[in-house]
Symmetry: C2
Subunit: 241 residues, 2 copies
């Protein structure tokens, strides 16, 4: 079920901090065990590095590398003199994860991401209509105007994304919003592809406005139709491929 992960986070079913090859991994597993079995919560502090050294009979550099791992995972925050504090910034880390672009956006990725957004943004029309307030609408219209005023395509894309993120936030579902935020870097790259100043000032702005109009009069069918066509626009960029 779990794919090959050579040096990954120690799985839940691991033995008692058994060394899975590397000494750092062993320390990592033991710290993990200490956290879960010690019932440590967010805000609690881990022992000092040197204490962990002697407790696990490891060198300080080994412990430090394990710490660096936990830091990368957003599980601890370590400051000089104060030590390592347990935090939960994994969502931010997941965000960072995808801001590192190693592969180009493919047609397939475009379809998949936009398909996902279509599912979210058209499927949640009921929740959106139930929760939307006049202040939400004015916010969204303001964001839309800011998009037109943007000085560059990059900046406009950010406003475009802000528009959609703001819309998704109305659903009131933190998990959905988190996932949307995680995908931010990828969505941004999609938006910047094949977007010209004309399309922003024209189509994108008008489509956003039409979507908001539909939301204002609680026209679910129009909202879904407009959103769907809006998200499917931009496909032409890949048509030649």
């Amino acid at each position: 079920m779990i794919p090959d992960r050579e040096t990954s986070f120690p799985g839940a079913a691991d033995e008692i901090a058994r060394a899975s090859g590397s000494a750092v991994d062993a320390v990592l597993a033991q710290i993990r065990q200490m956290i879960v079995e010690g019932g440590l919560k967010v805000g609690d502090k881990l022992p000092t590095e040197r204490e962990l050294c002697e407790r696990f009979a490891s060198s300080r550099n080994t412990v430090r590398e394990a710490m660096r791992m936990l830091k990368a995972f957003g599980v601890v925050e370590v400051r000089p003199k104060v030590g390592a504090t347990i935090v939960d910034q994994r969502m931010n880390r997941a965000f960072d994860l995808f801001s590192f672009n190693v592969t180009e956006i493919s047609r397939q990725t475009f379809d998949d991401i936009q398909g996902f957004r279509e599912l979210i943004e058209t499927g949640s029309v009921t929740q959106i209509f139930a929760a939307i307030q006049p202040s939400d609408l004015s916010d969204l219209r303001e964001i839309n105007r800011e998009m037109v005023r943007a000085k560059s395509v990059i900046e406009a894309s950010e406003h475009d994304l802000r528009f959609h993120t703001r819309l998704v936030s109305i659903i009131g579902n933190k998990s959905i919003l988190d996932i949307y935020r995680i995908m931010t870097p990828v969505i941004l790259r999609i938006m910047q592809r094949g977007k010209t100043r004309r399309t922003i000032e024209g189509e994108t702005f008008r489509e956003h406005e039409a979507i908001l109009d539909a939301a204002e009069r609680r026209d679910a069918l129009a909202f879904q139709y407009l959103m769907r066509t809006h998200l499917r626009a931009g496909l032409w960029t890949f048509e030649d491929g």
Copy 2:
């Protein structure tokens, strides 16, 4: 827009590998710059640690900690005596990210996660019905039977999750499947909460079967209704809170 990230991945708008406080972060930023501006692709190899040391005028341990960071992010895979190879295992890392349970599932989290699943699994009925094959249905029924035969609640939950994941895979959208996989650990914990042997052998199995029956006769309304009530079951676990 981007939240506070103290020691995070260097953002795209960073200056030229300027030290954002930590020396490790500086090296990290420079390696990142080397990758993106050097046009390094997946499969390419990074210079040796010692070469990076002298190139960045840093100690080996500093470079090693930066490497450890990249490893945690799933960007490089480093093997002894071979070196660091660029990979893209960020999805697996995102998966690992949430297998580290630091916080307890709250009623709010339950609602949000199940709300997200409802959106995905009921909203994609059109795509599922369009793509589903008889082999998919027989697979799903087999998984359902395996769930009943499971020896423990934990194991049964895994089959339960496999059932839903298999269903979602029919959509044919890699992004949605990836996200579903990322949420696997959280969903598993939700499933294991308040699930007894009786509910598995009884309700869960029957609900799955009913969903498959609806899929077999392409009854979208029934499919959505059954899935909705299926996902909303288990809410009682939190009702007392």
